[in-house]
Point group: C2
């Protein structure tokens, strides 16, 4: 009989949601405490949790066959010192809608001049400055996986053109034009918005670099909702400070939390969102786990398997 | 040969855009000055312009057959003292995308807690407070015409449920459930967001009243992007001040500009957007005019005709 140990800050909510799903045969222990979890369910074949708790429990689970992360990010799991004798699945698919809400919340903040209007209201001033519109603007997506595809669909809903910069893929119906490899300047040239939602892998490190940033028009806005490492922070600060870029909405950083006194806190045009773009809502994550559990007991391939060597 | 007088603040841009359309046979005079326009093209059969300028020119155009407004609002044209011996068309269709950007800009501002995050950034504080999400929330639309239909489609894109409150219509595929007449409390009960984008007519006056507002949950947010008269301002202020409503995003008011010292400037939870929700961008309006002009010269019925008696 399958036995799952659920290690997460939100143990009670996960337990309630998983039990409500009425999964066949599942024995379940949910706790936020690693030692307690190991004591109560050290013989689990299934481990569900966030990477920090999972890494702590990993060496002690002798019967482990499957780890379902409650996050998208898998960096911590790739440490060569850790075992790899189990199937690792992360969470995908659920973050597209959340990242769309994040990205378009800030795009509309920009177009509608909301910050200036809030300021006008504080002064009791009727501010009839015309807003902009997303219609007819061009969005460039760095990476077009499940998140990028959702962003592309949202951009199309708002009447935008969409470009995609990918390693090789070119199959999203909402992307008008694809760019690859050395096409960074052609990709970035003329964009109104550039959005990156990339995982942290060897291939994505500093992918959004000075070459890409310097090809953007001065009115462009950059959004990074993926991982901090995928963007060249120094080049970004330089572009913003010299007004070669209008704004940057940053959810992720080389070091998190962003250290006190870091220049980004005060760089003109920067919006700091403190790694909140795509939180793992338990109801979303449990949906992924439940679907994978049904596959697991039927002996089918699990969804969203991570390749340890590729890093995603 | 048809002769059009274009009276608008943006005369140069209208002239450029209309000439670029290469309309057959059209003789065109565009100016922002009413007396100048009448002097140069007082024999026009077509008048294009904003309501203030159109009303001023109306009595002097002896050959007038058609007025194309550059706005959606027709209130000024309905004054019984004005002539009605011409076809009046306004602008519709083009405002749906703009009002969607407006409404969802503020819905996402609310869900993503952007105001609090801006404040945290000013304090150099990492604010990892979880955002909310539009997914699974319920939007109530008061009026489901071309604007309401676009709002409904956008709500569906973001994974929301949609209710419509209309006089009789019930044909938008993106509305899950319709309410009419005395169903105000049933319509409003359980809504997360209520959005009104109604024209100002006898039938819409104070349609969003105390009965509708008091049935909303305390966490609900109201958006008014139509006309000020369609909402009971006193009842709204009362609900916000007694915390029976979370917020109100108001583009339109009983008196505009909103007078200095009006309580709405300081009512908790109010966002004032100074009648900027759906500006008439010349390129959009010229598109409507060009299409109607082609119909006009072919002797076909014009689109977006206003019924003087119904008021829309």
């Amino acid at each position: 009989m399958p036995k799952a140990l659920v290690l997460t800050k939100f143990a009670n909510e996960y337990e309630r949601l998983i039990e409500a799903a009425g999964l066949p045969e599942l024995e379940l222990v949910a706790t936020s405490e690693v030692p307690d979890g190991l004591f109560r369910a050290g013989d689990s074949d299934i481990l569900v949790g966030d990477p920090v708790r999972v890494v702590a429990a990993l060496p002690r689970l002798s019967r482990l066959r499957w780890v379902q992360l409650t996050w998208a990010g898998v960096e911590r799991m790739l440490d060569p010192a850790l075992r790899r004798d189990y199937v690792l699945t992360n969470v995908r698919g659920v973050f597209g809608p959340l990242v769309s809400e994040y990205v378009f919340g800030y795009l509309l903040l920009h177009e509608r001049k909301i910050v200036a209007r809030l300021e006008a209201q504080r002064e009791g001033r009727w501010d009839a400055t015309l807003p902009g519109t997303l219609q007819g603007k061009t969005m460039g997506l760095v990476g077009v996986g499940s998140i990028g595809s959702h962003l592309a669909a949202t951009a199309k809903h708002f009447g935008m053109s969409v470009r995609g910069y990918t390693r090789t893929s070119a199959d999203c119906p909402h992307v008008d034009r694809y760019f690859h490899g050395g096409d960074k300047a052609a990709f970035a040239s003329g964009l109104d918005y550039l959005a990156a939602a990339l995982p942290n892998t060897a291939g994505t490190r500093r992918l959004v670099d000075a070459a890409m940033l310097s090809a953007l028009p001065a009115h462009a806005v950059v959004v990074n909702a993926g991982r901090g490492d995928t963007l060249d922070t120094a080049a970004l600060i330089d572009a913003l400070e010299s007004r070669r870029l209008a704004a940057a909405v940053l959810d992720v950083f080389d070091e998190e939390p962003l250290p006190e006194g870091h220049p980004l806190w005060r760089t003109p045009g920067v919006f700091i969102t403190s790694h909140t773009a795509a939180p793992s809502f338990p109801s979303d994550i449990v949906g992924v786990f439940v679907d994978n559990y049904r596959r697991y007991v039927r002996g089918e391939a699990l969804r969203y398997q991570v390749d340890f060597d590729r890093g995603y």
